[in-house]
Symmetry: C2
């Protein structure tokens, strides 16, 4: 198989993870360069790749990946102008057409990336689209270098999926944050909750989430709910409302 040549714009969270992930497959992918507006940030990559802070005279590539913030994509893509390859962004939100390039598409890895945390890319769904079969095939090939699950979805599907991902990931993380605060207030280490969190997430690998929910709201245990609310109102008033709202939704769901 011919190597796919990739140029990456942006060394933020997603960009850095892509650089490191593709870097592990030098037999299949050649990174022809990395752009970052603040070039000092990518200085450490200099020995491995061509690096630049300019949007003109870029090296050739089959796929140009713009791993940039949503709100700069439009202007940035206009600034670079047409490119001698397929240009994609990595956003879960923006339509492909935010890009001005004639050959454009999306290469969206559905995962939560944090600096310094290794990702098992084989497990990361990569959601793609492009304007023709040939470009889609190219993205499928590129995605398959990293992942076992590359899927073609529409802009609309991706936007909806992103809402789902906010609940599944960002908001569940916020629940962990609240739990951490409360645990600390009881003078207990957060570690004590980690097996519970692991098992809760582990359950849904094999059980539908609807079957896997337990706890006072599921049992419609008003006494416990009221005690919890009284505690929160005194110690964490900012979280009492959330507790109430979510409990009500759970009660309503399992009663009907």
């Amino acid at each position: 198989m011919k190597k796919i040549r990739v140029f990456i714009f942006g060394a933020g969270n997603v960009g850095s993870h892509l650089i490191s992930a593709f870097g592990k497959h030098p037999d299949k992918v050649e990174i022809t360069g990395v752009y970052n507006r603040t070039i000092s940030k990518i200085k450490p990559l200099e020995n491995k790749f061509y690096i630049t802070g300019k949007t003109k005279n870029l090296p050739p590539a089959d796929v140009y990946i713009m791993a940039l913030k949503d709100d700069v994509l439009k202007d940035f893509s206009r600034e670079t102008g047409d490119l001698p390859g397929l240009t994609v962004h990595t956003s879960g939100v923006m339509p492909a057409d935010v890009l001005s390039q004639s050959r454009r598409g999306v290469f969206y890895p559905l995962q939560t990336f944090s600096p310094g945390r290794e990702i098992d890319w084989k497990q990361v769904p990569i959601l793609i689209n492009a304007r023709n079969k040939q470009d889609e095939l190219l993205l499928k090939k590129l995605g398959s270098v990293l992942s076992g699950q590359v899927m073609s979805i529409t802009d609309e599907q991706r936007a909806v999926l992103h809402v789902a991902a906010v609940f599944a990931s960002n908001f569940s993380m916020f629940m962990y944050q609240i739990a951490e605060k409360i645990t600390g207030e009881a003078g207990l280490p957060f570690d004590i909750l980690k097996p519970l969190i692991a098992e809760t997430a582990g359950k849904i690998r094999r059980m539908p989430p609807d079957d896997a929910l337990t706890g006072p709201a599921r049992r419609n245990d008003r006494k416990t709910i009221d005690e919890h609310l009284a505690y929160l109102q005194e110690h964490f008033p900012e979280y009492a409302d959330i507790y109430k709202k979510i409990s009500e939704l759970i009660i309503k769901k399992y009663r009907s």
Copy 2:
């Protein structure tokens, strides 16, 4: 080491898991009997253990475990009367003193139990208390048969921990449920979110939850939040309010 003799009241979720867990350590624990109000439910255990549906003339045990619903504990413990061993309940909510027995305590495994799902007991924190050192030591010994983490905490700490557990487990599961509904509405399989959920929960093993949160609210990306809200108001109005509330709390937290 002398075997610890255990009698278990209740073959619900927690009770069944305890029976099966202790049953794996016949060298250390002897289950002298199992009680369930509806005796037909424990009929399948008959070949292995003494079973009963009555609260009188119970076999001897070092520890009597009442794995019963919170709201029946008080009456049930009065019904059985004093027992020739240490009596404990498994509730995350109730104080030890809900029991009427003179030797009483708590044996609370901090985990979410679902029927038919195997638990890695070594990882389950077991939170105990009793009224004297000797009984506490007995519970510590019993807990250590199953778990690597047995800890003595007060009633008050346990009650607070239970609030934390509701957020960490029940509410994060509810977030998965919402995500599942939304994903389905987009015509996509829920499977697509599972690696994200696994990674989100996996992250907190090594990162503080405060550092691990990503997404539009963390970035204070109002445009995306407004788009998500517009989508929810149209398709899942019951979840729009939760989205708004949680996003506001996240924005506030990371702004300050």
